[in-house]
């Protein structure tokens, strides 16, 4: 994959550099262009300025902060930007938001968020400074300093991709979209994704309406097709974080569906293994990897419990040993279809009823048993002492028949719950 190829090249260069100049990094071992040299120079200056300002703010404390503190943070943001310290720049922006909220007595302000953001800047600054002192070039430091704009590199061979799941979303900045997650044949460790994003002003706020549109202006296949079958992508371009570019030269053709094989590396049957995976993913210093994509094979489900007070719906999902994880879906308009589908599958109960009779959350007969999935694909995380799961897609051992209108009929093994109403699916005849 593009990102890894770049990474491997970087490692190779680092070795060469070390050979040429003992103790030096890759940047020290090879001639850098003037642009990179200037960038490194600005970085060295920026580290000191960032540390100085953060220290000054820490010394004066929140209670002595004023509007001028905000101005200073914004100026610091510019300094980080010019020094190509993109990750730090974004955290400073977040810090400025926290300070502004504090100054405005905004109830959304929390000390934990404020302290956590300062800590991330401190950690990133230390990590970047160490790399800088080791002589690494800006390109070699991207995992720490971040990139201003995602760059895509062409993958040198065709990619056979099978959708793992798809989910619809609406952003706070008024964009509606669908993200499809893909298994890459031959690369089980990699999950790549492609997104189609449109402004709400023109396309409304319902992601499922995008399902029948092409995945991009340059590729004729619909999002529905790509979300339900395997395809070969020629001349594919991918970013370092596994995002697929849907560019003009992309050639997309059908490929054999791989079924469960695609999910093998993400599959977990017991939730303890899922927690172990989350533990493996949470080793990064600045908070990446708090969640993980997972394919879970539940042994049972509880009803969907709607908690209006906390604006969320939950559903207990048990593994074969009886351990439970909690499906948790925020009560937001774009999640309505997802919740409707989950309620059709697993039944529903009010939080108050469950509080009165906890057994109700566990013992009941699901109404949509015929369409109950064999597995779920989604995102797992830990919070509030619970293992949480946000489901994207239900997987079925026996295909369902998807019917839309009188003409469109197709057998599929997956239902994307936030995009496809269960009413359009029926169990295939045996």
């Amino acid at each position: 994959m593009a990102a890894n190829e770049g990474g491997e090249a970087g490692e190779g260069e680092a070795e060469a550099g070390e050979g040429a100049e003992a103790g030096g990094g890759a940047g020290a071992g090879k001639a850098l262009g003037k642009r990179d040299r200037d960038k490194l120079e600005r970085m060295a200056e920026a580290f000191d300025k960032i540390d100085r300002l953060l220290l000054r703010l820490a010394q004066q404390g929140l209670q002595r902060m004023s509007a001028s503190s905000l101005d200073e943070l914004r100026a610091l943001e510019q300094i980080a930007h010019h020094a190509a310290l993109v990750a730090i720049e974004r955290q400073i922006e977040t810090l400025a938001t926290h300070v502004r909220r504090y100054l405005e007595r905004d109830p959304l302000f929390t000390i934990a968020d404020y302290a956590g953001t300062v800590n991330k800047i401190w950690l990133l600054g230390r990590a970047a400074r160490r790399r800088h002192e080791a002589g690494q070039s800006p390109d070699e430091m991207l995992d720490v300093i971040g990139e201003a704009r995602r760059s895509y590199a062409e993958v040198g061979h065709p990619l056979v991709l099978q959708p793992l799941g798809a989910t619809g979303w609406v952003t706070d900045t008024d964009f509606v979209g669908i993200t499809v997650y893909f298994y890459v044949e031959g690369r089980p460790e990699l999950t790549c994704q492609a997104s189609n994003c449109k402004p709400c002003a023109y396309f409304g706020r319902d992601p499922k309406k995008l399902l029948d549109s092409p995945i991009s202006d340059h590729v004729a296949h619909r999002i529905f097709d790509v979300a339900h079958g395997a395809f070969e992508f020629r001349k594919a371009k991918m970013s370092g974080d596994g995002r697929l570019s849907l560019h003009k030269e992309l050639v997309v053709s059908k490929a054999p569906y791989l079924g469960a094989k695609a999910y093998a590396s993400l599959a977990v049957r017991d939730w303890a293994a899922l927690v172990d995976r989350l533990r493996e993913g949470e080793l990064h210093p600045v908070g990446r990897g708090d969640d993980a994509l997972a394919y879970v094979e539940p042994a049972g489900y509880g009803p969907v419990v709607t908690d209006e007070k906390n604006a969320r719906a939950t559903c207990e999902v048990a593994d074969a040993r009886g351990a439970t994880l909690q499906i948790e879906v925020p009560l937001r308009a774009e999640n309505n279809l997802l919740l409707d589908n989950l309620e059709k599958l697993f039944g529903s109960a009010r939080a108050a009823e469950v509080a009165r009779d906890p057994k109700r959350a566990r013992a009941f007969s699901p109404p949509g048993k015929k369409l109950a999935p064999n597995a779920l694909f989604g995102r797992a995380s830990v919070s509030g002492g619970r293992l949480k799961f946000f489901p994207f897609t239900g997987l079925y051992q026996q295909p369902l028949v998807y019917a839309k209108g009188r003409t469109q009929q197709r057998r599929v093994n997956e239902v994307h719950y936030s995009l496809e109403p269960l009413s359009q699916f029926t169990a295939a005849e045996s």
């Binding site: 820490a58 404390g61 302290a115 950690l123 990590a127 533990r279 566990r362 064999n374 026996q398």
Partner: protein, 689 residues
């Protein structure tokens, strides 16, 4: 999970482990061991203490953030000292050390009376604060994970009723099956009928194909949903198929395997000595319902002009004979040069008819004639030998059929030379005979001397000129029979194409330009795409020839070459057509004719397919206008109904000496025309190769 009782040591061990994990907060913490079962058990009891400790650390951090490090609250050092002691009690050495260092730094700040010196001291305190926050963030995260695991451990011990059961899976079976044949619907739904090698049970593999060749599904690769790979059906049907724990349903004693999410069948080769499972012999009678099968059927196939019958013991059977099967059976009869043949079939009952899954012959072994168009191909050598043995009354008819056979290739130079010599000795009479004679010559590379056709062409052009009298003498020469009268002038319908073609072939276009121009502007003026194919071709040729001078001055140089340097560059032709030049107009006229012969996208009716000779003319004209050299045999395949074209060819050959049929001129001409039409449609290798 085990249920070891928590002990104080275990609790301390867990806390120390978590502390260790969070030791270096700003580097990747690789190699940290996850908590074990004892730790999990300890966590259940010790969670509240650790939670409480973390809460107090958060409060200290809050105070530092709000008050600032330059002016810390005087009581902070003592509070930190107490917390450090708690950390020690909880066996959290990193927390203990960090809290202790922070306490010292803050105490140093507070002890400094000069306010301007405090910032330098507080820098150290800030570093320690950040270390504490980083430790706390990761410790809390790890703590959450352990809390989740301990909760799960408790749930796994059965401390809670299980929720409702998830979807039940279908029963699964493992078996090795022997494919008997397939049934493929136009949409790609594929049924592979099989027999279990152990139990002899009937198994049906239900699949959905994509990207397959509908006209030849056994060739090339198809994307299979059942096998979850791109596979070749042909080789698949020749071996065993192994299904392992594959979900299964049963109906009427038949086992159905459908595409499954987590199971895929695998193709397995078989040894030569493999003996396939035996199939029952089916008995069919008109009064009994159609047997379900699958089973064997000893059938008799028989051919009569325009009809192919399949019978069992002389009685008709309700056997579905789709076009490809009919073509294959006709080919089999043709290859065997017989009108009737016994054949072992494997059939299955579907609805009220039987469908052929496979057929077996001694020579070919097991074949799938309903889906494989490449079966029972007649060898070119055999075809030429059979024609050579024919003794017809009309030598030109035989020569035409032989020339068509030669045009399929494979003949040696001596053989061709001898044939050309025999051809030169023939003396055809009339325009049509000359055309057939020259056409046969063209197929084998014989030159057409202009002198042999010039008088005939003069006569024909004179008769075809606008307002011309039907001179009986001329008419007799052109029609090739004595005593023709003016009433026979109607027989000149369709004569335009042979005239134009012979003029081209004899390199007489310039010499006959006035007559040809008159023909184009007179008799052919009203011809359009809906007119007879022969006239459309004549008009297209004349439009191209008279509108653009011939390049190279030879009959074999095509006008298309003047426009397109690359023979395969169709875009050049399209551009020319768009320009509206003579060649473009000619091609557009032909394309209009071809379009009218092809069913519309909505399945609209097409006009009837012209007879084979006209198809030959159409293919020939199209090739000429595209710049192909006809003598090399590179005809442009026509997008015409392939099934009908090849069926006609098979029937025509069956009715000729090539198939053991009659050797009359009509049968031979029909065979010649059908073979050439098949070649023009790009289908000849399916019949003769």
């Amino acid at each position: 999970m085990t249920t070891a009782a928590p002990t104080p040591d275990a609790r301390a061990s867990l806390a120390a482990k978590l502390d260790e994990i969070s030791l270096e907060a700003d580097i990747l913490r690789e190699g940290a061991e996850p908590p074990g079962p004892d730790d999990l058990a300890a966590m259940v009891d010790g969670a509240s203490l650790v939670e409480q400790f973390l809460g107090e650390v958060v409060e200290i951090v809050r105070q530092i953030c709000v008050a600032g490090l330059a002016f810390p609250a005087p009581e902070l050092p003592s509070a930190l000292e107490q917390l450090a002691e708690r950390a020690a009690a909880l066996r959290l050495p990193t927390a203990y050390e960090t809290l202790g260092r922070l306490r010292h730094r803050l105490a140093a700040v507070l002890a400094e009376p000069a306010l301007d010196k405090r910032p330098a001291l507080s820098a150290d305190a800030w570093e320690e604060t950040q270390r504490l926050i980083a430790w706390m963030r990761l410790f809390r995260r790890e703590h959450d994970l352990v809390a989740v695991q301990s909760r799960m451990a408790a749930e796994a011990r059965g401390e809670g009723a299980p929720p409702a059961a998830a979807a039940a899976a279908l029963p699964a079976r493992s078996m090795s099956v022997w494919p008997l044949g397939i049934d493929l619907a136009p949409g790609g739904k594929l049924l592979i009928f099989c027999r279990d090698t152990e139990s002899d049970a009937v198994a049906v593999l239900v699949d959905h194909l994509a990207e397959y060749r509908p006209d030849d599904p056994l060739a090339g690769k198809a994307i299979s949903r059942l096998f979850q790979e791109a596979l070749s059906l042909g080789p698949l049907l020749k071996g065993l198929i192994r299904l392992e724990d594959h979900p299964v349903t049963e109906r009427g004693g038949v086992v159905f395997f459908r595409p499954a999410f987590g199971a895929t069948p695998k193709a397995r080769p078989v040894a030569r000595s493999f003996v396939p499972p035996a199939l029952p012999e089916l008995t069919v009678s008109p009064s009994a319902p159609v047997p379900r099968g699958p089973g064997r059927l000893k059938a008799q196939i028989g051919w009569a002009p325009g009809r192919l019958d399949v019978t069992v013991e002389g009685l008709p059977v309700p056997l579905a004979v789709p076009p490809l099967l009919r073509f294959n059976l006709a080919k089999l009869l043709l290859r065997e040069a017989t009108r009737a043949l016994p054949l072992d079939l494997v059939v299955v009952g579907r609805g009220d008819e039987l469908r052929v899954l496979s057929a077996e012959t001694d020579f070919d072994g097991r074949t799938f004639p309903a889906h494989d168009p490449s079966l029972f191909v007649l060898s070119r050598e055999v075809l030429r030998a059979r024609l050579a043995r024919a003794r017809p009354g009309d030598p030109l008819a035989l020569a035409s059929a032989q020339a068509a056979a030669f045009s399929l290739g494979g003949a040696g130079d001596d053989e061709l030379e001898a044939f050309r010599a025999r051809l030169a000795d023939l003396a055809p009479r009339g325009l049509l005979a000359h055309y057939r004679w020259a056409l046969a010559g063209a197929r084998v590379g014989a030159e057409l001397p202009p002198a042999r056709v010039r008088p005939l062409l003069d006569d024909a052009l004179a008769l075809l000129a606008p307002g011309a009298d039907a001179d009986p003498a001329r008419l007799s020469r052109v029609l090739g029979r004595d005593g023709a009268s003016s009433a026979d002038a109607r027989l000149l319908e369709g004569a335009a194409y042979p005239v134009v073609w012979l003029a081209m072939e004899a390199n007489l276009v310039d010499a006959l330009r006035p007559g040809l121009t008159a023909l184009l502007e007179g008799r052919l003026a009203s011809v359009d795409a809906a007119s007879p194919a022969s006239d459309v071709c004549a008009k297209a040729l004349l439009t191209a020839l008279l509108g653009a001078p011939l390049v190279g001055g030879t009959a074999t140089a095509a006008p298309g070459a003047a426009f397109a340097t690359d023979e395969d560059d169709d875009e050049g032709d399209e551009a020319e057509a768009a320009d509206g030049g003579a060649l473009g107009r000619a091609i557009a006229l032909l394309q209009g004719l071809i379009a009218s012969l092809t069913p519309g996208p909505g399945g609209g009716p097409a006009r009837p397919l012209p007879d084979p000779l006209e198809l030959v003319q159409l293919g020939d004209t199209l090739a000429f206008l595209h710049g192909h050299n006809r003598l090399r045999g590179t005809l442009v395949p026509l997008a015409l109904p392939a099934e009908l074209t090849r069926q006609r060819a098979a029937d025509a050959l069956l009715g000729s000496p090539a198939g053991g049929g009659e050797d009359g001129p009509a049968a031979l001409y029909a065979a010649a025309d059908a073979l050439l039409a098949l070649a023009a449609a790009g289908q000849a290798p399916l019949l003769v190769s």
